[in-house]
C-alpha cells in the first residue's frame, strides 16, 4: 500500500530558522477542540445496534449481518437505525441516543 500525505497528522508547529533567530510559521490547519467526553471502550452490555447510512443495499447487508449474529447467540437490537443521508452528519438526537447506548454500535456499509 502506498504512503500518502493523508497517512499522518500534520505537524502542529513548524519553525523557520535563519542565521540568528527562529520564527513560528503560521499554522494553516484548524484543529478540533472537542468538549470532554467519556468514551466507552468496552460495551457494558453484550448486544449490537446497527445503523444504516442509506446507501444502496446497506440495509440489506446489515440485515444479513444481524441474522448471522443472532444465529451465533448475539443479542441484536430489533430495529436497524437509519441515518437519513450518508454524506451528512447524523441528527443530534440520534447521536445522543447512540452515545448513551451501552452495547456495541456498528455503523453503515459504504458503497
Amino acid at each position: 500500500m502506498s504512503q500518502t500525505i493523508s497517512d499522518g497528522i500534520p505537524a502542529r508547529r513548524l519553525t523557520s530558522c535563519g542565521d540568528r533567530s527562529c520564527e513560528w510559521l503560521v499554522d494553516p490547519i484548524p484543529r478540533p477542540a472537542p468538549a470532554a467526553i467519556t468514551i466507552t471502550l468496552q460495551p457494558r452490555q453484550p448486544r449490537v445496534t446497527f445503523i444504516d447510512h442509506s446507501k444502496p443495499n446497506s440495509i440489506i447487508i446489515l440485515g444479513h449481518a444481524a441474522e448471522i449474529l443472532r444465529e451465533r447467540g448475539v443479542t441484536v437490537a430489533d430495529d436497524i437505525l437509519v441515518k437519513p443521508d450518508a454524506s451528512q452528519r447524523m441528527p443530534e438526537a440520534m447521536l445522543q441516543r447512540l452515545a448513551s447506548e451501552p452495547g456495541l454500535v456498528l455503523c453503515g456499509v459504504s458503497d
Binding site: G8, P10, L25, V26, P28, I29, P30, P32, S110
Partner: protein, 338 residues
C-alpha cells in the same frame, strides 16, 4: 533562493502543510499582509465545521492563501471564497473525504475577472495563469486543510481528478447571455465567486454542426452516458461551458432558459436500461423517484443546470462539468468590484 527558504519549503512538504506541491512558507509577515488584504484580524472566526468541532480562524485562510501563491490583491475575492467554502450547505468535509473524488471548483464572474487578470479564453478550464492557478489551488487547499478534522479523517476518493490540485474557471467579462452569477440571483453588474463540488470536465467536440440545436444535443448526450454519476440520486447537477464558436450557433436559436429546457428534454436515457447496467439500485429508495418503463433525466429540476461562457475562439468544443451528488448547493457570493 536561500538554503533556509528551501529548508522551510521541504519542512512544509514533509510535515503535512502542503497539497503535495511546494508551497510558499507561511511566514507571519506574509500572512499579516494577506489578513489585511482580506479585511480580517488573525483570530476572527470565519467558519465552523460543527461535525468535527472545528473553528476556522482567518489566519488559517490567510496562511493557506500565502501558501497557494496568491497575491494580496486577490484578498477580497479570497475572503468571499473562504466564506463560501465554509458555508455549512457546501459540505466541505464531505467533499474532501468522499469516494467521489470531488474538487472545490471555483467560478469567477463579472468585472473582477479582468481586474485581477484571470484567464477566461485559452484553456479556460486549466489556464497556466497565476490568478486562475493560485485561486483554484487555494480552494483545494482549504478543502484539504479544513475538511479532514485536523488530519484525523482520511481521503477516500476512488480515482479523483486533477482539479483537486487546482480548478478555477473565469467567465468572459462580456457575455452573450447574462453573467453566470445571475443564475444565482445576483445582479448582472456584480462580481462574484461561486463554489461547487464537482467531478472533472468532459469535453464535447462538435466541429461540423450547422445548428445550435445540434450542438446542444451533443452536450445533452455527454450528460447522459451510462457512467455519469447523477443517474440514481440526481442531487448533483451540471455546468455547461460554452466557448465562443459553439455559443455563436446556440444563441441564434436559444436564449438561456430555452437552452436549459432543450438540454433537459434531450438528456434522457431508458430507466430500464439504466437498471440493466446497474446504474439504479434495486430496490430503489423513494428519494430516487425511479419510474421503470420511462425515460430518465439526470436532473430532478432545471435549477441543477447552469451555463458559463468562457474559452477561446477558433475551436468547436464545449464542456460539461458534472457536480458531485453529495453537495446539493452551489454557493455564490458577491465580490466587491475592484
Amino acid at each position: 533562493m536561500t538554503d533556509s527558504l528551501v529548508a522551510d519549503i521541504e519542512n512544509c512538504l514533509e510535515n503535512g502543510w502542503s497539497d503535495g506541491l511546494p508551497v510558499i512558507p507561511p511566514y507571519s509577515g506574509l500572512v499579516d499582509d494577506m489578513l489585511a488584504a482580506m479585511g480580517y484580524a488573525a483570530t476572527d472566526i470565519i467558519g465552523e465545521i460543527a461535525d468535527q468541532q472545528i473553528q476556522v480562524r482567518a489566519e488559517h485562510a490567510a496562511a493557506t492563501a500565502v501558501m497557494a501563491g496568491c497575491k494580496t490583491a486577490y484578498g477580497p475575492l479570497l475572503r468571499e471564497l473562504a466564506l463560501a467554502a465554509l458555508d455549512p450547505r457546501f459540505n466541505l468535509s464531505g467533499t474532501e473525504v468522499t469516494t467521489g473524488g470531488a474538487s472545490v471548483t471555483v467560478f469567477v464572474s463579472g468585472p473582477v475577472v479582468a481586474a485581477l487578470g484571470f484567464e477566461h479564453e485559452a484553456n479556460a478550464l486549466g489556464a497556466n495563469n497565476r490568478a486562475n492557478a493560485t485561486v483554484g489551488r487555494y480552494a483545494q487547499m482549504l478543502r484539504h486543510f479544513c475538511g479532514r478534522g485536523g488530519g484525523v479523517l482520511k481521503c477516500h476518493g476512488t480515482v479523483g481528478h486533477p482539479g483537486r490540485i487546482s480548478f478555477c474557471v473565469a467567465e468572459h467579462p462580456s457575455t452573450v447571455w447574462a453573467p453566470f452569477h445571475t443564475q444565482f440571483g445576483l445582479p448582472a453588474a456584480s462580481s462574484a465567486v461561486t463554489l461547487m463540488a464537482t467531478e472533472g470536465p468532459n469535453s464535447c467536440n462538435n466541429h461540423y454542426a450547422a445548428t445550435g440545436a445540434a450542438v446542444l444535443e451533443t452536450i445533452a448526450d455527454c450528460m447522459a452516458h451510462y457512467g455519469q454519476t447523477n443517474w440514481y440520486y440526481r442531487s448533483g447537477g451540471f455546468v455547461v461551458v460554452l466557448p465562443p464558436d459553439h455559443m455563436d450557433l446556440i444563441h441564434r436559436e436559444f436564449n438561456r432558459d430555452q437552452a436549459r429546457a432543450y438540454i433537459h428534454e434531450k438528456a434522457r436515457r431508458s430507466t430500464d436500461e439504466l437498471i440493466r447496467v446497474g446504474r439504479i439500485a434495486q430496490p430503489p429508495l423513494p428519494y430516487a423517484e425511479v419510474e421503470p418503463g420511462q425515460p430518465r433525466s439526470p436532473l430532478k429540476n432545471l435549477e441543477q443546470l447552469q451555463f458559463i461562457e468562457c474559452g477561446a475562439a477558433g475551436g468547436r468544443f464545449s464542456a460539461v462539468i458534472p457536480r458531485w451528488v453529495g453537495s446539493l448547493h452551489a454557493i455564490c457570493r458577491a465580490v466587491p468590484n475592484l
